[in-house]
C-alpha cells in the first residue's frame, strides 16, 4: 500500500490539476469560515457567536467544509479520467501492477484526501475555537466530536461516487457534468416522486445529510427538538440538529452506499478494457 501511495503522490505533486482545486478548497473554506464569524444575526434570543462555541462549533465547521466536497470529488474525477486519457492505467498493468492494485491505489488516495480534509477541519475548528470559547465551553469540546468522523465518511462517500462515475464514463468533462447534474437537479427531481420514507435514502440525500446545517432554532431556544418522520414523533439528539433520520442510521446507509460505489468501481476496473 505504501508503494501504491508513493506512486500516486509522484503523479500529484507536480500536477496543477491537484494544486489548483486543493488550494481552492482550502482558501475558500478558510474564507467562508472567516466571513461567517463576522456575520451578526439579528434574531430574538439568538447570538450568532453561539455557532462558534463548543459543541456547536463542530457542526458549523463540518457543515461549511461540506460545501467544498465537490472540489474533492472533481479532483478524483480528474485523476481517474487522466489515467484513461494518458493511457497510463494500461501502461501500469503492462509494467506489473494488477488491476486490484490500480483500484487500491485510488482508494488509498481518496482516504488520504478525506483524512487531510478532516485534519484541516479539526485545525480550523481549534483555531476558531480559540477566539470564541471560554474555559467552560472548551470543556464541551468532546460532546460532538463524532462530527469530524461523519464528515470523513461524507467526503469519502462523495469521492467514491466520483470514482465510480469516472470509471464508467472515462472522460473528465462528461464525468464532472454528470456528477453535478446528478447532485442537482436529477436526484432532487427524482426524489419528488417518492414518499418521505424513501426519499431520505437516496444517495445524495443520505450523503449530504451527514453534515446538516447548524440548527438555528435549537441553538436559539436551547430546548429539546422533535422531528417527525412519517407521522412518528422522535426525540432527536440534543444540542445538534434536526436529522431527518438518526445520524447513526444515516451514517450506516452512507457506508452502505460507499460499499456499493466501491464494488461497482472495482468490478468495472477489473472487467473493462484499459
Amino acid at each position: 500500500m505504501k508503494r501504491l501511495l508513493e506512486i500516486e503522490f509522484l503523479k500529484l505533486f507536480t500536477y496543477a490539476g491537484f494544486w489548483v482545486p486543493a488550494s481552492f478548497w482550502a482558501v475558500l473554506y478558510v474564507f467562508c469560515l472567516f466571513i461567517s464569524t463576522q456575520i451578526n444575526i439579528n434574531f430574538p434570543g439568538l447570538d450568532s457567536k453561539t455557532f462558534f462555541i463548543f459543541p456547536n462549533l463542530w457542526n458549523t465547521t463540518t457543515w461549511l467544509a461540506s460545501w467544498f466536497n465537490l472540489l474533492l470529488a472533481i479532483m478524483i474525477m480528474i485523476f481517474i479520467c487522466n489515467e484513461f486519457s494518458f493511457r497510463t492505467f494500461r501502461q501500469h498493468v503492462i509494467d506489473g501492477l494488477s488491476r486490484n492494485e490500480l483500484f487500491l491505489a485510488k482508494v488509498a488516495l481518496m482516504l488520504v484526501f478525506a483524512v487531510a480534509g478532516v485534519a484541516f477541519v479539526i485545525i480550523l475548528t481549534f483555531v476558531t475555537g480559540l477566539f470564541f470559547n471560554t474555559s467552560e465551553t472548551w470543556s464541551q469540546l468532546f460532546d460532538t466530536l463524532y462530527l469530524p468522523v461523519v464528515y470523513f465518511v461524507q467526503a469519502f462517500a462523495y469521492m467514491s461516487l466520483a470514482m465510480m462515475i469516472s470509471l464508467l464514463l472515462k472522460n473528465t468533462a462528461i464525468s464532472i457534468i454528470t456528477f453535478i447534474l446528478y447532485f442537482f437537479p436529477i436526484e432532487p427531481i427524482i426524489r419528488n416522486f417518492f414518499p418521505d420514507k424513501i426519499l431520505f435514502f437516496f444517495p445524495m440525500k443520505v450523503i449530504s445529510n451527514l453534515t446538516p446545517a447548524p440548527d438555528v432554532f435549537h441553538i436559539s431556544t436551547q430546548t429539546q427538538f422533535y422531528t417527525t418522520i412519517n407521522g412518528q414523533v422522535t426525540n432527536s439528539e440534543p444540542a445538534v440538529v434536526p436529522f431527518n433520520i438518526p445520524l447513526w442510521e444515516n451514517t450506516l446507509v452512507a457506508l452502505g452506499y460507499i460499499a456499493i460505489f466501491l464494488t461497482i468501481s472495482w468490478y468495472v476496473l477489473k472487467k473493462k478494457k484499459l
Binding site: R3, L10, K11, R90, D95, G96, L97, E101
Partner: protein, 297 residues
C-alpha cells in the same frame, strides 16, 4: 534445451463481429528474437495486449515462464505496446521513477537507460515537450528499466526517423546478444528480417506460417538459369516435375525447386539432358516477398 518463455494456446478474441484472433497458438523460447508479422488488423497488437494482461481473451490461455499468471512475471518483462504512455506534465526522469516504483527496482537504473536511449541530456524536460521519436525512445528506456529478461515490443520504430530506426535496431541487437528474449511485432519486414531469429506470420487473426527466419527464407529459394536454348530448357523443366514453379523472365528462367532438390541437382539434370547452362544462380526471396506472397493466398 532452452526454456520456454511464452506459451500461447488456442487463444481467440472477438471485437463484436470482428474476429481479431482465431485459435492462435505460439511458443517462444529463451534467447529467441521472435518477430510477429502481419498487415494492419492481423492481430499482432491484440496478441501482445492479451499476453500483457490489458485485454482478456474470449478463450484459450497463455503462460509466461511456465508459471501461473501473476504480476511478478511482468517484472521480468519490459514491454512497449502500441504508443508510449506517460504523464505529459511530468519529466522523463519523473515518468521513469513511476515505472521503477511499479517494477520495484532501484531508481539508480534510470540514468543507465536514459543514456542507452540518448535521452540523458533531456531527462528534466516534460514529456509533452518531446517529439514523437523522443517519446518512443523514452518508452524504450522504460522497457529497459531493471534489465528485464524479456522485451515485448510492438512497432518500436513507430514515428522514428531513419537514424532513430537504426538506433532502435542497434539497441535490439545489443539486447539479443546479451541473451535477452525479444518478441517484436512489426509490419516493417526489412526490420524483422534484419533482427529476428524466428518469425510468426498472422493474417486475419490466424497463424499462417511460423519458424526460423533463415529456414523460411531458404525454403523458397529461387534459381535463375539461362542457356542458349531457353525455350527448350523451360519445357524440359516443366516436364521434369522437380520444380514447384517455373517462369520465363528476361534472358532466362526462374525456378522454385522442391526440397530436397537444389541448384547443383538442377545443373546436373540439365547437363545430363543436353543443356549447357550459361548462368545458374540462387536467389533468396526476401521476407517481404515471401510475406506478400502469403498475403495474396
Amino acid at each position: 534445451m532452452t526454456a520456454e518463455i511464452l506459451h500461447i494456446e488456442n487463444i481467440s478474441k472477438h471485437y463484436g463481429a470482428v474476429e481479431a484472433l482465431n485459435n492462435l497458438s505460439l511458443s517462444v523460447s529463451g534467447g529467441q528474437v521472435f518477430g510477429i508479422l502481419g498487415p494492419n488488423g492481423s492481430g499482432k497488437t491484440t496478441t501482445l495486449s492479451i499476453v500483457m494482461g490489458i485485454i482478456y481473451p474470449d478463450c484459450g490461455n497463455y503462460l509466461w515462464f511456465n508459471n501461473t499468471q501473476n504480476n511478478n512475471n511482468k517484472k521480468r518483462i519490459g514491454s512497449l505496446i502500441e504508443s508510449p504512455n506517460f504523464y505529459p506534465y511530468l519529466t522523463a526522469q519523473q515518468n521513469l521513477t513511476i515505472t521503477a516504483k511499479i517494477k520495484e527496482i532501484s531508481s539508480s537504473d534510470i540514468e543507465r537507460v536514459l543514456k542507452i536511449t540518448g535521452l540523458y541530456e533531456r531527462r528534466n524536460y516534460r514529456f509533452d515537450s518531446f517529439s514523437l521519436g523522443m517519446k518512443q525512445r523514452l518508452a524504450l528506456a522504460a522497457v529497459l528499466l531493471g534489465d528485464p529478461e524479456v522485451l515485448v515490443l510492438d512497432e518500436p520504430a513507430n514515428g522514428l526517423d531513419p537514424q532513430g530506426i537504426a538506433d532502435i535496431r542497434e539497441i535490439i541487437r545489443n539486447q539479443a546478444t546479451l541473451g535477452k528474449t525479444i518478441i517484436l511485432a512489426s509490419h516493417i519486414l526489412d526490420e524483422v528480417e534484419k533482427v529476428c531469429t524466428h518469425v510468426a506470420i498472422l493474417k486475419k487473426g490466424k497463424l499462417i506460417k511460423s519458424g526460423k527466419v533463415h529456414e523460411l527464407l531458404s525454403a523458397n529459394e529461387q534459381i535463375f538459369l539461362s542457356s542458349d536454348r531457353n525455350t527448350e530448357l523451360f519445357e524440359f523443366l516443366v516436364r521434369a516435375g522437380v520444380c514447384k514453379n517455373v517462369t520465363t523472365i528476361e534472358k532466362g528462367i526462374l525456378v522454385e525447386v522442391q526440397q530436397p532438390f537444389d541448384s547443383s541437382y538442377i545443373n546436373k539434370l540439365a547437363f545430363e539432358n543436353g543443356f549447357m547452362l550459361n548462368t545458374i544462380e540462387t536467389r533468396t526471396q526476401s521476407l517481404e516477398e515471401q510475406f506478400l506472397k502469403l498475403m495474396k493466398k
